[in-house]
């Protein structure tokens, strides 16, 4: 679209489709007489302008009485909803919440690890305990003791396992 049309376009389109069509400004009229391309584009924009005005509403529209009260009611509802969730949207509160959650997780983890029983598998296995030398000596001196050292070792192993 050429300049003489562009310059006057908005003012000209104001009158299109209304009850009083405005006359074309002289320089625009002169240009359109010799430029078919601009004439065609202008006609398209005139149609577009008329179509856009189909969104025009009548002047006498008003909402039903009590509109302000209904708006305030909606605001109160929004406030009630926001007051619960807005705390989470507050950056300071959100940051504190994150720190508190992280600390809680850390404490809980530490507690769980510290209270977990040691090596569960080792408890079921018998532990071999070697009898101190004085015990062996005393039993060897005992004349009533008729058990072999292998048997005594087996008894000690059993006892140790039982204690565990």
């Amino acid at each position: 679209m050429h300049q003489p049309v562009k310059d006057n376009l908005e003012e000209y389109l104001r009158g299109v489709g209304g009850r009083f069509t405005r006359p074309l400004p002289p320089e625009m009229k002169a240009h359109l007489a010799s430029c078919g391309e601009c004439a065609e584009k202008l006609s398209r924009l005139e149609r577009q302008s008329v179509a856009l005005r189909s969104l025009r509403a009548p002047d006498d529209l008003e909402p039903r009485t009590g509109f302000y009260a209904r708006v305030m009611q909606r605001i109160e509802e929004a406030r009630a909803t926001n007051s619960v969730w807005s705390a989470f949207l507050d950056p300071v509160f959100a940051k504190r919440l994150i720190y508190a959650s992280a600390t809680l997780v850390l404490l809980l983890g530490t507690y769980l690890i510290s209270t977990e029983p040691g090596d569960m598998a080792s408890g079921s296995q018998p532990t071999i305990v070697v009898a101190p030398p004085h015990t062996v000596a005393s039993t060897a001196d005992d004349p009533d003791n008729s058990t072999s050292p292998q048997e005594r070792d087996a008894v000690l192993v059993d006892l140790a396992a039982y204690r565990q």
Partner: protein, 217 residues
């Protein structure tokens, strides 16, 4: 709200005095009202609602052509105004700001409902249909209702392709009938910028219409 936002009285048709002075939206009676609303003065907010409820309602009705939806969205618009007026920066008029919020709410509603075939005759109450008849332009009135509804549907689809700012400008120009000079005062942008933006928006609409027609064909 970026370039657009404030209230000018409704457009005056015909020739008018051309004042090239830029409106300072910070020092108006309206700015004082806005500041009171920003300070959570309920009486001031009530004044804003009463001042603009009819305008907001008619903008919505113009787009949706349904009384109940218009009422619902108008309430939503004012609730939004209440909560976000602290962000109003006086760069534009309050009406421009409210207009943009209103149109955006309408488009959010349309997108949410995924209404593309927007209004069927069955959706109209008789009263709504009568109102629509009375609001059509001279050219429109020569067309059957089906054609007009299809045309409105297409117009809304095309406008959805524009940015919120371009859409608001085009609607303020075409639907509200403001002149470029008035738009300049309302938005705080200079007249050439307005002209360029409007021209580009119109070109976008033409291209979008071509694409839709090609797709349909």
């Amino acid at each position: 709200m970026d370039g657009l936002s404030g209230v000018l009285p409704f457009p005056i048709s015909g020739k008018q005095t051309r004042t090239r002075t830029r409106v300072d939206h910070r020092n108006t009676e309206e700015a004082a009202l806005v500041r009171r609303v920003q300070a959570r003065d309920e009486i001031a907010f009530r004044e804003v609602v009463e001042r603009y409820q009819a305008k907001v309602f008619s903008i919505i009705f113009g787009i949706l052509r349904n009384h109940n939806d218009a009422e619902d969205i108008a309430q939503q618009v004012f609730a939004k105004i209440y909560f976000s007026i602290k962000n109003f920066d006086f760069r534009s008029s309050l009406l421009t700001w409210i207009y943009k919020i209103t149109v955006n709410e309408c488009y959010d509603y349309l997108r949410k409902k995924r209404v593309r075939k927007l209004v069927y005759e069955s959706d109209f109450s008789e009263e709504d249909a009568l109102r629509m008849e009375n609001s059509e332009t001279v050219i429109d009135q020569g067309q059957p209702m089906d054609t007009r509804l299809a045309q409105r549907d297409l117009v809304l689809k095309l406008l959805d392709k524009l940015s919120s700012e371009d859409r608001t400008l085009l609607l303020l120009k075409e639907v509200e009938g403001h002149s470029v000079e008035e738009l300049s005062q309302m938005t705080g942008m200079n007249e050439n910028t307005i002209k360029v933006k409007l021209f580009r928006a119109r070109q976008k609409l033409v291209k979008a219409a071509h694409r839709i027609n090609r797709g349909a064909g």
